[in-house]
Amino acid sequence: MNSLTRTENQALARTVLELDVNNHPGVMSHVVGLFSRRAYNVEGILVMPVGSGETSRIWLLVNEDERLDQMVKQVEKLEDVLAVRRHGAEHEVFVRLEEFFL
């Protein structure tokens, strides 16, 4: 958790990361741990299995800061992360969920 106010937070530029990962109980810990260890707040997380359930997709909503490139490289290094794609904050995945967070 960071100590920004809600308005400050909303003013920050956001990035949406899309990760393809192997689906097993430890993956979330591996991914999220990389962020928490660096005190890098993850604003939003979504995970669902894909297809047969062998793999999952993790969507992360994060603030853009100067460490983001390094974060992405660290995520790519994880053994269970198969691919990482970066999207702008305008990506629909979290926008569509907003109604559940009113």
Binding site: G26, S29, G33, Q74
Partner: protein, 560 residues
């Protein structure tokens, strides 16, 4: 894939067979309830020699010693709970120094996980941030995939530790095995970008004041020879990190020795003037760079590393090349012209002459530098050198004439007191023909002193040189220099009789203080096979100099 008739085996037997097939011949560990099935299976192995450590951290460092001298993943084992937590420091140490290690831990049975069962800890969760990868095995047949994969991951790319946590019931589970997997070995690395290599070559050819900066990756990659070749062809003064010592002989004409916090003045000053820094398998660690903004302020940077996440992490490179450093250097070499760099080489030579590493007392074996040189005088380059952590470590890094990659084993990234002696035992187990010398301190040795009995039991050729300054010397030095001489909790009041301690553990010992001819006594001790402790008193006020104050730029070093 091999093997025809199916066999029915337990998970534990599968683990042991996979280790045998992997080529593991020595491993270190301590048994306990949750790993007993594996130990039972291990007892029947005629190929694997199990070294019984006396603390799991000691076992972990023994495995590290084996891995550091061979470059091949080594194995340590521990039981669940306290066994696993004791092992973690050695695993974290391996992570920070990129050492290939496979740690196998027992876990409570699957049905009891999450119930706070006896000796249950979340080993998987605890080890996530300190391993390259980790596994919690959920069925015995998975072992056939996971164990070779653990070795593959540990050895591939940038090496590192892998932990495999195996619940007891998985160890006991029966599985039919009809085919054995191939042993896990290092994967091929994608080839480097040729165009970037061309650009790097052009930058080197055009540079007026270049410096080659070698890191531990050069040793891991087996690239020492080609790195020295590059330095010679391109006329590159060369600095090494703590981890790279030995990659280029320190007395090579082009060597400026170690850079950073305790580097020689000439070394840090040359870096301050360079116009091109060629970083190879190095990660711009803060002990090497000092304040980053003040590190090589005028230099363009070429950064070559096997781990893409190291590029641009601390310093943005003008050319960053991801790839195996040996491969990259081999591609680079033919593109290098041999420019005359008379002015720069002359400038570096004059810096070296004017501001060399000063080693007061180097002729007196009762001083730190003199002792280290006297030990070196008794040995050749075949000897392996390990250290603990503190002033003694830095003095050895500065003064020992290291000339061979993998000759030098030290805890660089984590800086773990207690590393030296068990790592030396591991090194001696892996390469019994060598003499292994461990330089340690009166503080550090006590952190894994129990492994003296392991040294005696295994009769390893390990010589422990104990530099006793009656203090946590490096702490004492920092309090003296930066905390107004307020010496607190760094001076020992009680002092064990280390000679008797060693003898009590079954290791012969001599006290150099009592010897009339310390050089002769050293020569005799170092040429006798088997473990030995050599105790030497060092004056408490001796300092490691120069020293860059923490947080300062390297050119602001004090002393020396």
């Amino acid at each position: 894939m091999s093997q025809k008739t199916p066999e029915t085996l337990t998970g534990a037997q599968i683990v042991v067979r996979l280790l045998e097939r992997q080529g593991v011949r020595t491993l270190a560990g301590i048994p306990g309830g949750a790993i007993l099935p594996i130990y039972d299976a291990l007892s029947k192995s005629t190929l694997i020699h199990h070294v019984l450590a006396r603390h799991e951290q000691g076992g972990g460092f023994m495995a590290q010693g084996m891995a550091r001298v061979t470059g091949v993943p080594a194995v340590c084992m521990a039981s669940s709970g306290p066994g696993a937590t004791n092992l973690l420091t050695a695993v974290a140490d391996a992570k920070l120094d990129s050492i290939p290690l496979v740690a196998i831990t027992g876990q409570v049975p699957r049905a009891m996980i999450g119930t706070d069962a006896f000796q249950e800890v979340d080993t998987y969760g605890l080890s996530i941030p300190i391993t390259k990868h980790n596994f919690l095995v959920s069925s015995a047949d998975q072992l056939l995939d996971i164990v070779p994969r653990a070795f593959r991951i540990a050895a591939s790319g940038r090496p590192g530790p892998v932990l495999v946590d195996i619940p007891k019931d998985v160890q006991n589970q029966l599985v039919e095995v009809d085919e054995w997997p191939e042993p896990g070995c290092a994967e091929l690395i994608p080839p480097p970008d040729v165009e970037l290599v061309e650009r790097a070559a052009a930058m080197i050819n055009q540079a007026v004041k270049p410096i080659l900066y070698l890191g531990g990756g050069v040793v891991h990659s087996g690239a020492s020879k080609v790195a020295v070749g590059l330095a010679e062809k391109a006329g590159l003064p060369t600095v090494m990190t703590l981890m790279a010592l030995g990659a280029m002989a320190v007395d090579h004409d082009l060597s400026l020795g170690m850079l950073g916090m305790h580097g020689a003045r000439c070394t840090n000053l040359a870096l301050d003037e360079c116009d091109l820094l060629i970083a190879v398998g190095a990660r711009f660690d803060d002990r090497a760079t000092g304040k980053v903004a003040g590190f090589c302020p005028q230099a363009k940077i070429i950064h070559i590393d096997i781990d893409p996440s190291e590029l641009d992490k601390i310093k943005t490179a003008h050319v960053g090349i991801a790839g195996d450093v040996q491969t990259v250097l081999e591609m680079l070499l033919p593109k290098i012209e041999s420019p005359l760099r008379e002015a720069w080489l002359a400038r570096v030579a004059s810096l070296k002459a004017a501001q060399p590493l000063r080693m007061p007392g180097v002729d007196d074996p009762r001083t730190p530098y003199g002792l280290i040189r006297a030990v070196a005088d008794c040995l050749d380059d075949e000897a392996t050198i390990t250290t603990d952590v503190g002033q003694h470590q830095m003095w050895v890094a500065q003064a020992y004439p290291l000339r061979r990659p993998r000759q030098w084993l030290t805890s660089g990234g984590l800086g773990t007191m207690g590393f030296g002696m068990p790592a030396a035992i591991g090194a001696a187990l892996a390469e019994p023909e060598r003499t292994v010398v461990c330089f340690t301190g009166d503080g550090s040795i006590l952190m894994n002193v129990q492994e003296l009995v392991t040294a005696a039991e295994e009769n390893v050729n390990v010589k422990i040189v104990l530099m006793n300054n009656s203090s946590l010397g490096l702490v004492f030095q920092q309090q003296t220099m930066f905390y107004g001489e307020r010496i607190y909790a760094s001076k020992f009041k009680g002092m064990p009789d280390f000679v008797r301690v060693a003898e009590g553990f079954g290791v012969p010992a001599i006290d150099l203080d009592a010897e009339i001819d310390p050089r002769a006594a050293l020569a005799a001790a170092l040429s006798t096979r088997g473990p030995m402790l050599i105790h030497v008193s060092i004056a408490m006020h001796e300092q490691v100099l120069p020293m860059v104050p923490p947080g300062a730029a390297n050119k602001e070093m004090i002393g020396g």
